[in-house]
């Protein structure tokens, strides 16, 4: 394989791993202000897989594609600091309120325009936890997909040999490219940001960011150097069917949100005796947990 065009699908998410008391609003939605926005962890594994492909494939490039508000450009910069060549930010009011179907549709429109050889994505995002977007993108583009990927075993002329991490073991598969690969957290952790790249790309910006403060030193620098410009696309730039975007294109309706608070104050210790097991069964059936 040569000159492979690799695109990483990434998402900026609220950091749900260290939630404090104010992580949820009283209405039961995520209080985004209280949680720092981070690079979705498994997307970082995906980025590492893409960068390691770039290390091994002559002339390969890695770009990040993300959909989100303007501040999502942060993760594109972060990816550039770690070795990505650049990125695409899909941003605009038309995309707001997208569920996984609308998201994968928007991403697939952008990907058609980019035309990558390999698409790598994290298995799932820590905010929605659906693991649907990667596979849906593959379906929409009519590409083969390898999910739960852990390691690229071999790169052949027109295919990849990939080790998958499954529930009860591992599996090695070969897949022709173009293809979509979704990556598990068990894959190699992402390489750190690189000092020189941070200094070289810290002023990289999307056009709306430049427009927000056009006279700032960073914006002037970004405007003068194409390598520092993050591609920013609105809906119209990717030729979509408007009906399939954003809220309109999202069949998922949230009916009700329940805030689950664990009530039990003390732990109960059960032995492996028949008597204890029977008692537990009775209790679980009575509480409708079972049956």
């Amino acid at each position: 394989m040569k000159n492979a065009k690799i695109v990483v699908l990434a998402k900026q998410v609220p950091d749900t791993r260290n939630v404090g008391k104010d992580a949820m609003t009283p209405e039961g939605t995520v209080n985004r202000a209280a949680l720092p926005a981070i690079f979705n962890p498994e997307d970082l594994n995906a980025l590492e897989m893409a960068l390691s492909l770039k290390d091994r494939i002559e002339g390969a490039t890695v770009h990040v594609l993300t959909m989100g508000p303007l501040r999502a450009a942060d993760i594109i910069r972060d990816a550039m600091f770690r070795g990505a060549d650049g990125g695409y930010l899909l941003s605009g009011r038309e995309f707001a309120g997208s569920d996984t179907l609308a998201t994968s549709y928007a991403l697939s429109c952008a990907l058609r325009k980019i035309g990558p050889d390999i698409i790598v994505a994290g298995r799932q995002a820590i905010d929605g936890d659906t693991a649907q977007v990667g596979p849906q993108v593959a379906e929409k583009l009519g590409l083969p997909q390898v999910t739960y990927a852990e390691r690229i075993v071999e790169i052949k002329e027109a295919s990849l040999v990939i080790k998958r991490r499954l529930e009860h073991g591992t599996e090695v598969v070969e897949c022709p490219v173009p293809a979509v690969v979704t990556v598990n957290a068990s894959a190699e952790a992402c390489r750190p940001r690189n000092a020189k790249r941070v200094m070289a790309f810290k002023c990289a910006m999307a056009k709306s960011e430049i427009a927000a403060a056009p006279e700032s030193e960073a914006a002037l620098r970004a405007a003068s150097k194409p390598a520092l410009q993050i591609v920013e696309w609105a809906a119209a730039d990717v030729d979509p069917d408007p009906q399939q975007l954003g809220l309109t294109g999202s069949p998922t309706k949230v009916k009700k949100i329940e805030n689950v608070v664990f009530q039990a104050k003390e732990a109960k210790r059960l032995t492996a005796s028949d008597c204890d097991i029977k008692e537990l069964m009775v209790e679980l059936i009575a509480s409708h947990t079972l049956g």
Partner: protein, 573 residues
Amino acid sequence: MANFFSDNKDLQFHLQHPMMRKIVELKERGFAEKDLYDHAPQNFEDAMDSYRRVLEIAGEVCGDVIAPNAEGVDHEGPRVVDDHVEYASGTVRNLKAIVDAGLSGLTLPRKYDGLNFPLVCFVMANEMVARADAGFENIWGLQDCAETLNEFASEEIKQKFLPWVSAGATCAMDLTEPDAGSDLGAVMLKATWSEERQTWLLNGVKRFITNGDGEVSLVLARTEEGTTDARGLSMLVYDKRDGGVKVRRIENKLGIKGSPTCELVFTNAPAQLVGDRKMGLIKYVMSLMNAARLGIGAQSVGLCEAAYREALKYAQEREQFGKPIVRFAAISEMLTNMKAKLEGARALLYETTRFVEIYKQYTHISHERSLEGEERQEMKFYNRLADGFTPLVKLFSSEYANQLAYDAIQIHGGSGFMKDYPCERLYRDARIMNIYEGTSQLQVVAAINAVTKGTFMEQIGRYAAADYCAEMQPVVERLKALTAQFAEMVERVETVDKQTSGFKDLHARRLVETAGHIIITYLLARQAGECADYGRSARVFCNLAEGKIAEAYAGVMHSEAADVALYRVEAAE
């Protein structure tokens, strides 16, 4: 998810020092490279922003990679396989992370692929690495050897070695031999010029060489046949790829176990001469040694930070008699003193680093063009301060590293004696710090001139003349009284020493430490003016200083000439 830079306000405070503006201007030569490299800064603010961002990367690598590996590395240690060192697996992972993050060649010029960062940033990264794993700090920190090449080697040697160091090659400085430790003038390893191979060839044995199997080694060797002292020694650089050096064994040590301490056998190992012949020890090792001492200062402060944090965490978690032990006065006082020593040592570390930095930058500039009169004056001024302060920071911080590691175990009680907590490793790792790169006793020998020639007293005078916030006035008043006592002590020692030689040697440590205690208190008081949080440490350190100086004062003022004989132990026949 730990970041040893973001979580350390004290470290961030020192990056903001007003002298940074001058340092950055000097280091960047007025930002001459801003259009030549895409990673070169445009101006002072841009440079500072880059330093912060890169130190955050270093902090992340330290917190997320190096620190979690420390226990495994301590346990596994390096091995000798086929005459070469094989690092512990954690060390290999650490080195990969460092190379990926581009944290090699931190201070080297951009034309050799370095980051051209000020020494202050290198010392900060050094400190964070040591906090994560003091043993690994040796391997990473030895990249400082490249600075000696940068200062003294030919362009050809620089072209060959410096970009390699920037790409992650590790270094070693091969000085010590079985019969030449503190007394390096006795080095015997032979360098002979081979007409046939047109290179120097090294033959002999080196011992106690940290990271002795590193890719780039600076070797102190005897080029002048028939000589026996320092004047016959030169500095050479050896490239591991050329072969000729075998690792005979790795020492089994008390601490810093991840850092391979090697015995090396040189057999016709080819090497290139660095700088001028016969200047090896007199000039180049002295420069190398000063940099290394500052490095150990940073390593020690990093260990102090780790020890203080371990102790504080345990004291807050551990409950006895129905409350966390931090709420007992005896524990609280220990922790308060630990913090004051930590912040005091760090204040001295960065003050010294700034002095060294300015003097070094003028030295580099003087190789490019002749200095203006005023610049020459400044270079001399900072050179003198750097020479006095470097052994002082090595002395204080390495002793504090030991004291804090000791206290950290004490606060852990019986648990601290077990292998279950990191504090036992810190205790073992700290023990070498007041020994290598010159023992504390030798730091006193190196610093005593700054007492008798007035360097410390003049600098104390400058600190005293500065403005302090109202809250610090009582501290400043006490410092003036302590300074008067210091002057009395110096006068008495010099007077008695004129009649009885050996009196100054007997009291040298008391004098040097007294100067250090006064200087550190002034530095903390000055910091309190900028950030009120330091007021507490300044007052606490002043109390410590008063106690220590009272003891030293009594030791000197009550001492008679006869004490020279009283404390003399005769050598066995």
